[in-house]
């Protein structure tokens, strides 16, 4: 029962995919850097609390910081070595935040402490969830929401379907694509574990049609005893946004300001699903992830297994360095990602990819006044009026943006992408959101 129709949401854009740089490259492991930096805030929620001291020796996989509260996640050492500092360090979000620095032992085997891997079949849902929590698993699709919170929805929410997000609609990125093509069995194991925890009988995997090899691999390994289906989706940005995926696959609308679980759905990204499986396959916590280092500004674009906390500098060196015309480094994809100014900023659990753009790609075009053409309204996937919001944001009338549903904007950037006057709409909205939340906190 595989759907062949054109599954999609309304509106959206189709930017050049640019995935050909890395789409066919197998995932390889990068050599260990000489130092890893583990920010305590790599996830949505409270930062973790450090439990090591300067001078401590840690093995790969040892916990260096524990979760501070329920919506939080522990951090583990991604390489064996010595803790040299616990202090402020450049974070990819542009700030300096608390981080644990570990000098990696040269020539270390990077073997982990012997550990007993529990057979997940014998564990109850609760035990599985606490194992996932203890392994520091968060959503690897970008937002880094702690997975154990997602796995334990409130009782009144009736979850009837698990959606697995394999869209990867951002241009350039091929992390999920390669994960599905190379580790389809791991993905299926992760789905099985998640379905058990949530108690749902139906799972649907949505994959954009531009990844035929991934669709093939996932289809070939479909379990026969579970109701898991694969759904090729129209290639369109932002197909991978939760609300768009739910709309396309189930035709359900997540109410404004609510979570997918209000319509009985849990959405999880394929890379996170594979990580859950890995926890029960190897017993190793989330210490490394697959990252696409790509863009025309890098010598050898690659799909790499990267220890969490690797500095961008080391990551780029592992791929032959930058090209002479490299200009800007973006964490995440070019549509929603954020540029990073400090080469010392580390790769986080939620870093899906690092894109290096060239001079030609980041020369800002000249901006003209809005001519009210309405193209932004025709592309906004949540049906906002970016034209109105933009004109309010430009003059700083942020309070008036709230009744106009600013909170529903997910900053996907479709409006900025189509604007013929080159107005940076989604950046204006981001500024407005930050200003509003600051005002609220002050009040």
């Amino acid at each position: 029962m595989i759907d062949q129709g054109n599954l999609e949401f309304r509106h959206g854009v189709h930017p050049p995919e640019l995935k050909e740089l890395t789409a066919r490259l197998p995932i390889r492991r990068m050599p260990y850097p000489t130092e890893v930096v583990l920010p305590l805030s790599q996830h949505t929620g409270k930062p973790a609390k450090p439990i090591v001291r300067v001078g401590d020796r840690v093995e790969r996989g040892d916990k260096v910081a524990e979760a501070d509260g329920y919506v939080s996640s522990p951090v583990h050492a991604s390489a064996a070595g010595t803790v040299t500092d616990i202090g402020l360090w450049a974070h990819p979000n542009g700030s300096y935040s608390e981080a644990v620095r570990i000098t990696v032992e040269p020539f270390s085997a990077q073997a982990t402490r012997p550990r007993i891997v529990p057979d997940w079949h014998d564990l109850s849902a609760k035990e599985i969830i606490s194992a996932v929590q203890d392994a520091g698993v968060v959503g690897l699709g970008g937002a880094a929401f702690p997975t154990h919170v997602k796995l334990s929805p409130p009782k009144e929410a009736k979850i009837d379907v698990l959606l697995i997000n394999g869209c990867e609609c951002e241009p350039y990125l091929t992390t999920d694509h390669r994960t599905m093509a190379e580790y389809p069995k791991r993905v299926h194991l992760g789905i099985r574990i998640m379905m058990r925890c949530l108690g749902v009988d139906r799972a649907m995997i949505g994959i954009e049609k531009n990844k035929p090899d991934a669709i093939e691999a996932i289809k070939a390994t479909l379990p026969t005893d579970l109701d898991v289906t694969v759904h090729p989706l129209t290639v369109k940005y932002p197909q991978g946004a939760e609300k768009m995926l739910i709309k396309a696959l189930l035709d359900r609308e997540v109410p404004s300001g609510k979570l997918p679980l209000h319509v009985g759905v849990i959405v999880q990204n394929v890379a996170s699903v594979a990580t859950i499986a890995e926890v029960f396959e190897t017993g190793l916590p989330l210490v490394e992830r697959i990252v696409t280092l790509t863009g025309r500004g890098v010598q050898r674009p690659s799909n790499l297994i990267v220890p969490v906390g690797t500095k961008v500098r080391d990551l780029i060196d592992a791929c032959g360095g930058l090209t002479p015309d490299a200009r800007e480094i973006v964490f995440g994809g070019p549509m929603m990602g954020a540029s990073v100014a400090n080469l010392d900023a580390p790769v986080l659990k939620g870093t899906t990819g690092v894109v290096v753009l060239t001079d030609a790609e980041c020369t800002p075009p000249e901006t003209y006044p809005c001519i009210r053409c309405g193209h932004c309204l025709d592309t906004c996937p949540v049906f906002l009026n970016p034209q109105l919001l933009g004109s309010l944001a430009k003059v700083g009338r942020y309070e008036e943006m709230e009744p106009n549903h600013l909170a529903d904007c997910m900053l996907c950037g479709c409006c900025s992408y189509v604007c013929p006057s080159n107005i940076p709409l989604s950046q204006l909205f981001q500024v407005a959101k930050v200003a509003l939340s600051k005002q609220k906190r002050a009040a």
Partner: protein, 311 residues
């Protein structure tokens, strides 16, 4: 926006073909007025965005070939100054600047604005006293003037051959003539997404339907659907004026409503108004309603039941 100016080249060429050097002079004078004011009082480098050039050329196309050049120049000045800059420049204006310029000229110089020469005679001859001095009455010329097809229909119940209307070899304003050329240029703009095809489509549908029904009731007094579509400034207005992005609705539903409104007003003004042509006033009236149309047709935000109220 220079591509819109580019798409006007065939239309301008058509008017030059039919009306000789007068056409070029009038369009040039109107554009000069528009560009000069934009340069003097507009924001820095505003000429570069091409919007003043569009206004100037479009205004020129709405004028009769024999109009004195100083009037055309004044129309361009008024259109940009009072149609656009006074509101705050590009993107802020309520009314189409070219049409506002024309409305000003129509009110100020009604005789010059309704004296149309008929095509014919030497191509090189001027179609009126183009070089009349400001505020002097134009010297009588030996150009044959005549009524436009709409005037003939309204006041003398005389039809005009449809093939002449479609090709453009009739009396009228510069750009009021060749419907086919304007349609082709409009199709190009629609494909490039420079204009919303819904607006001209809804205008055509409304005018054709209403015009057709009324023609059936009294075929002698009122022309048929095709006559209504291809006569007067309807083609130029529907394709180039009504679709001005700044002064048309931002929503798709709004575009349909806007077009239906314009079509309806055109028919009403043409058939029962004091003038024989109503495209200009129909568009200007609907321009005034655009903020209300926008407010009424806001999309429903995904996952919400209420439609947002615009501030």
């Amino acid at each position: 926006m220079w591509s819109v100016v580019g798409s006007l080249v065939p239309v301008v060429a058509g008017s030059i073909y039919f009306f000789g050097p007068s056409a070029l002079l009038v369009i040039f004078a109107a554009s000069a007025g528009a560009l000069l004011i934009e340069r003097l009082f507009g924001p820095k480098n505003a000429i570069g965005d091409g919007s003043a050039a569009i206004t100037g050329v479009l205004l020129g196309l709405t004028l009769p070939p024999g109009v004195p050049l100083w009037m055309a120049f004044l129309g361009g000045v008024f259109g940009i100054a009072f149609g656009k800059l006074i509101f705050g420049g590009l993107g802020q204006n309520i009314f189409n600047p070219a049409l506002l310029g024309r409305a000003f000229l129509q009110a100020a110089f009604p005789v010059a604005m309704t004296t149309f020469s008929t095509p014919g005679g030497s191509w090189w001859a001027l179609r009126g006293d183009n070089f009349a001095l400001p505020l002097m009455s134009a010297a009588p010329t030996d150009v044959i003037t005549g009524a436009t097809p709409l005037g003939l229909m309204k006041f003398e119940q005389t039809g005009t051959d449809l093939s002449n209307l479609v090709l453009g070899s009739t009396g009228g304003s510069l750009g009021e003539t060749s419907g086919i050329v304007i349609l082709v240029c409009g199709a190009y703009l629609a494909v490039r997404n420079y204009l919303d095809w819904r607006i001209p489509a809804s205008i055509f549908i409304t005018v054709a339907l209403l015009g057709g029904v009324i023609h059936l009731i009294d075929p002698v007094r009122y022309g048929g659907s095709l006559f209504m579509l291809f006569s007067g400034g309807l083609m130029l207005g529907a394709v180039y004026m009504a679709t001005d992005m700044v002064t048309s609705p931002v929503t798709k539903v709004g575009s349909w409503i806007f077009g239906f409104g314009i079509g309806f007003l055109i028919v009403v003004i043409r058939l029962w108004g004091g003038l024989n042509e109503g495209v200009m006033y129909a568009i200007l009236l609907m321009n005034a309603l655009v903020p209300f149309i926008n407010r009424a047709t806001q999309p429903r935000v995904l996952g919400s039941r209420t439609v947002r109220v615009m501030t």
